[in-house]
Assembly symmetry: C2
Homo-oligomer: 386 residues x 2
């Protein structure tokens, strides 16, 4: 198995500490739950299950992985951060008491990482998912004078441009997804439930070496193809109905997604026309992407492309969102995105189209290059009729 080397993890900590120094922050705290674990994984390689987790990095000295009461052996096996502390704030959502277990507080951790001086200016990187027990613990430990400063940018800027090792992981994840996708086309049959197909697909992902699904993979049929978000159901596949497959393996910590609309039998003409338009919009995105291009220009062109073809009511967002450890992570490419595309930024080109009675998504991981755009999955950019 490939893995990100320890030195690269160490370098990430150093990069954060440099920014703490530049901004006069005393420490940086990030958070993770089972679903959204990007920043903790990026800094420690730990992925909390059942419990939550955090990483705290002082301006100088060693970072600490913060876990719940039950995860220690698992965390020790995984973590690239040696110091691990168990705090009740990271316990399971069902709030077990663990009577008799003595655990440190945030105050103890702050004392330890600051050499007894305490923390005054704490920058935090996961406002969107930070829980109240963590917030309250931190607030109490900071005391009256201490401040919490939102600073998601500090780590999301770092994560946006990928290293060679990270890109290798993302490519391997897409390779696994492509192989599973090709297999599932041969396994699907009319009458199968979407859930049964999802089971077969998941088996294929692990068979080809996936660490896990990158997200709950999509097998939606009929009217449910218009759902931007959803879950495979007990509906059965039917001939002549659109089926949306989004196949995403996680590998070495990194996510992939290969999204394709498919049909068992012939795609109805009206649907086929929209799917063909979507594929063209998707390929236009590839063509617009290049180092130095303002991100919002890609988004504006994308919306204009929809509008010029009479499809202005059929989009929800787009055309791209960041990807890496998260299948979706910062930055998004939207009409208000005030940054220039940089080489080795990675995105999901995510062409989502919703009509009243159907929808679809073309989705592929891509990398920004000096010359344009490297697409991580090029299979089946075509009308797929089985």
């Amino acid at each position: 198995m490939q893995r990100i080397p320890d030195e690269e993890f160490a370098q990430r900590i150093i990069s954060i500490q440099k920014k703490l120094e530049e901004n006069d922050y005393d420490a940086y705290l990030v958070h993770a739950n089972e679903t959204d674990h990007g920043n903790v994984r990026y800094l420690s390689d730990h992925w909390p299950i059942f419990e939550t987790a955090g990483v705290i990095i002082p301006r100088q000295g060693d970072p600490v992985l913060l876990i719940g009461p039950e995860a220690e052996p698992f965390a020790r096996e995984r973590s690239r951060i040696t110091k691990i502390r168990k705090l009740l704030a990271y316990r399971e959502a069902s709030e077990p008491d663990y009577p008799g277990m003595r655990l440190p507080s945030f105050r103890d951790v702050f004392e330890e990482i600051s050499g007894g001086e305490g923390i005054q200016r704490l920058a935090v990187g996961d406002h969107a998912i930070m829980t109240l027990p963590v917030y309250e613990g931190v607030r109490e430990a900071l005391g009256e004078k201490g401040r919490i400063i939102r600073a998601e940018w500090l780590i999301s800027d770092l994560r946006a441009e990928k290293s060679e090792n990270e890109i290798a992981m993302i490519k391997e994840a897409h390779r696994i997804s492509e192989r599973a996708f090709e297999d599932i086309l041969g396994l699907m049959e009319p009458g199968m439930t979407e859930k049964k197909v999802l089971g077969l697909l998941t088996e294929r992902l692990y068979h080809y070496g996936a660490e896990s699904e990158a997200y709950p993979n999509y097998v939606f049929s009929g009217v449910k193809t218009r759902n931007a978000i959803g879950q495979a159901s007990y509906e059965t596949l039917k001939e002549g109905q659109l089926i949306q497959l989004c196949v995403g393996a996680r590998y070495g910590g990194y996510a992939s997604s290969v999204g394709r609309p498919v049909c068992i039998g012939k795609m109805p003409a009206r649907v086929r026309k929209s799917v063909q338009f979507g594929l063209e919009a998707h390929k236009e995105t590839f063509a617009w992407i290049r180092e130095g291009i303002p991100a919002k220009e890609v988004a504006t062109r994308y919306y204009d492309f929809f509008a010029a073809h009479g499809y202005e009511d059929n989009f929800l967002y787009g055309p791209c969102h960041g990807c890496g450890i998260g299948e979706n992570e910062k930055p998004w490419i939207e009409t208000n995105s005030e940054y220039l595309l940089q080489s080795n930024m990675t995105f999901m080109a995510d062409t989502f189209f919703a009509a009243d009675d159907f929808g679809f998504r073309w989705e592929d991981g891509i990398r920004v290059t000096a010359e344009g755009c490297e697409v991580f999955s090029n299979i089946r950019h075509e009308i797929i009729e089985l």
Copy 2:
């Protein structure tokens, strides 16, 4: 497919409203993320993916399902609550901006559910997982005079005793898990990675009708069997090594778990002795459970049983935690549990044993009855050597 009837969902809302009245609370707010979605599922049947979600119930009038900007068609398909509002506080963790999209605030929702009077005393049911964007939105909407009151008990008391429909779901979930477990015993071979086994197992769960895994199922081998929490890895199965399987299907919203230590070939004598002891402790738990017994008495007996056999250093917690929508949910059975067991409370009997170089877990769903304890999975309560 079986499902909880609409009337039972409506009755749950009425039960909450009765408690709001009794306690002079104006409204009740619960929260869900992709992993921990119990209360929102219990009240609405919605299960957020990528985004988070909430349900708010006013003392009088209609409850509202609160979702993120992208989940509307999915939520409308699933939700038993008709009123649905999209709030930015429930968006994805990657914080997309959705430029141009106009969304209501918590203040708008509070106005709507209170008939313009506003909310003063807001009881909340998910302190452990509530995020800062939701907390801050609620705080602002409450104004200076408004109060947030922690009231997890309000819904956890209601959820603790299961209805006939809920028990039918939990039983079916265990039936699926048992069948998948029996199949996987025949599919595992030395040299397979734990992850490959997990893929095969997941396929079996969906094959037999699971809605999903109830939690990330466990396939741990060798030293990793001592992990209370963990994930299947790329380690390969070896003859004569302990393998921990925890197989848990979700069905109709409800979780199951069948945990068994198994061995390909002969279990080493020292390991076998501990596994046999664990099975006896597990069966003792079944024997102690009965309506009217103080919960803490079961926990104290369990610890004493470990200690009497010289295994006091080998337990982490136990012997039971609540189960239902969550594979683990309130209430736990611990030495400080101040309540009496009631009929139709459901638990996971979770006999976890950790030594330095191995560990194991016997786990089964159970129901408290007037006469004792109904065990939902009785297969293979034996030393399992393949």
